[in-house]
């Protein structure tokens, strides 16, 4: 087992190195959410109610973009390019390899949440998170949920050229209906209904409770955690069920 862990660690180290070597991936996975935060922060400057919405909203979007979006792209690329098939022909255990890739995505999530947390305190007047445990629990649940959904979604993407269209067709509507950029409570009823059924709104609710609202706490957001967990179970099942090590033949 130590061997499995050592190989996973080596794969993780390589993924990190390559991540920073690829400027476009680093930009879209990393800087874009931070730029959004900077823009909205500047626009909403002085409006604390809206800043209290946007900071956890961007945090939730970051969880989704660093896991769901990044893994859907990555897995599609690795499958289409035959990297997965090549790895499958080596003695590297599959688990080590996938752990290395997932670890890379989770590191990006952690870095972004850390930056957003600090920015909230320093620039946007939201202060330090009220409940660190709740923040950790929701980020962890969000990571598992969106990472598995990203891998599962990559099974539906036919090739890498179409990956941006497929991913954005899901990512953009979800971030708009889920109240990343506005208070979801003010949205029309049917949008609220859609958002209620999806995991991102519940992640943002949980993050909002952890980061800005003093008296909500983990207990107040148990049902939100339940929805995220349900999507997570579905995501894991679909990710494993449809997993393919090679490009399907046309």
């Amino acid at each position: 087992m130590t061997d499995v862990a050592v190989l996973a660690w080596r794969q993780y180290r390589l993924e990190r190195k390559l991540f920073w070597r690829n400027p476009s991936a680093a930009f879209f996975n990393f800087l874009l959410p931070l730029l959004f935060l900077a823009f909205f922060g500047a626009i909403l400057h002085g409006n604390q109610h809206d800043l209290n919405v946007i900071v956890p909203g961007i945090a939730g979007m970051s969880v989704m973009s660093t896991t769901f979006t990044a893994l859907a792209f990555n897995m599609t690329f690795l499958r289409e390019q035959g990297v997965l098939k090549r790895i499958r022909g080596t003695p590297m255990p599959s688990g080590s390899y996938l752990l290395g890739i997932a670890g890379n995505a989770v590191t990006n999530t952690a870095l972004q949440i850390a930056i957003i947390t600090v920015a909230g305190r320093v620039f946007f007047g939201t202060g330090w998170p009220r409940d660190w445990l709740e923040l950790f629990v929701f980020v962890a649940a969000g990571v598992v949920c969106f990472a598995s959904l990203g891998v599962a979604f990559s099974h539906a993407i036919p090739n890498f050229d179409s990956a941006p269209a497929y991913v954005n067709a899901v990512f953009l509507p979800v971030i708009f209906v889920s109240g990343v950029f506005y208070d979801a409570g003010r949205a029309p009823g049917f949008i609220k209904g859609i958002a209620q059924a999806l995991p991102l709104k519940h992640l943002i609710d949980g993050l909002s409770g952890a980061m800005v609202h003093a008296h909500s706490g983990l207990g107040a957001n148990v049902s939100a955690l339940g929805v995220i967990a349900a999507w997570g179970v579905l995501g894991v099942a679909l990710a494993i069920r449809g997993f393919s090590w090679e490009q399907r033949r046309a």
């Binding site: 390589l14 070597r21 035959g82 090549r86 080596t90 003695p91």
Partner: protein, 281 residues
């Protein structure tokens, strides 16, 4: 070491009712270079991918280095090297980094610098994979397959898309593998490649082996072709299993008429002739 490197017996594979492989059997001895030939869709890749452990067979027996590849054991994967037809690599990885990364996956890897030298990638150690030419990428494929110091190497169309000089270089590398005592299973479209490299070849058609043997022995039961130009310039061709007697008769008759047999040639059928004869309907 009398046990063969690869033993295949009555191998069958069906996809959705279509039988792609219909009872293939062959053995590859240790240290042998074995060529698998055949047109597209003949069942070559399916056969090789079953041996590599990528696919499960429908029926038959398969043993690779004494192990059933269907079990996908790590031990077996540590002892074989695979060069697939088209496999990618991370675009932003450096050559040496890639070879070293793959070396760490194996229990007894070869020296990274040795492998880079063997595959002719010296001077490219710090180059990113995305900057390599097609031929260089193919050599990197080979380097990644060799770095685990495998006993058996699968080469699936290793020189497709190469220019003639690059092909000759690749052939030298494959010959070097034989000298290292490696067993090689080679699939190729190029008959000259099989003729130059393989100790034995098998030609697959419609999921079955139609002929098997050493390239130079194949077709010894086929006819030699004797050709010359007639007095009027037309080409006369004879086919015979016994060129000695035929030549004696032809030359004797020509001398008796006081003629010469212009442009006289005697040719053995090449692997290509045999292949085309077997594969064309």
């Amino acid at each position: 070491m009398s046990e063969p490197a690869i033993a295949v017996h009555d191998l069958r594979k069906s996809y959705d009712g279509f039988e792609a492989v219909r009872g293939i059997g062959f053995e590859v001895a240790r240290g042998e270079v074995f060529g698998l030939l055949g047109p597209n869709g003949a069942g070559k890749t399916t056969t090789v991918e079953i041996l590599e452990g990528y696919r499960q067979r429908s029926a038959g027996e398969v043993s690779v280095l004494g192990i059933d590849p269907g079990g996908r054991s790590r031990e077996l994967r540590a002892r074989v090297g695979i060069v697939l037809q088209s496999t990618g690599i991370y675009r932003h990885i450096k050559v040496r980094e890639a070879v070293a990364h793959f070396a760490a996956m194996y229990p007894h890897p070869r020296d990274v610098e040795d492998v880079i030298a063997l595959t002719g990638l010296e001077g490219k150690e710090e180059a990113l994979a995305r900057t390599l030419s097609g031929g260089q990428l193919r050599r990197l494929d080979l380097a990644l397959a060799l770095v685990g110091d495998p006993e058996l190497i699968f080469l699936d169309e290793p020189t497709t898309g190469f220019d003639p000089a690059a092909r000759r270089n690749a052939w030298q590398t494959i010959k070097a593998l034989r000298e290292l005592g490696k067993t090689v299973l080679l699939t190729t479209h190029y008959l000259d490649e099989a003729q130059a490299l393989a100790d034995r070849v098998a030609i697959i058609k419609d999921g079955r082996i139609v002929v098997e043997g050493a390239p130079r022995e194949l077709g010894t039961d086929t006819r030699y072709r004797v050709a010359y130009r007639n007095g009027d310039g037309s080409v006369v061709e004879h086919e015979t299993a016994d060129p000695t007697t035929l030549l004696h008769e032809l030359t004797a008759a020509a001398l008796a008429r006081g003629e010469r047999l212009e442009g006289l040639t005697v040719t053995r059928p090449s692997l290509e002739d045999i292949y085309l004869e077997l594969v064309d309907d």
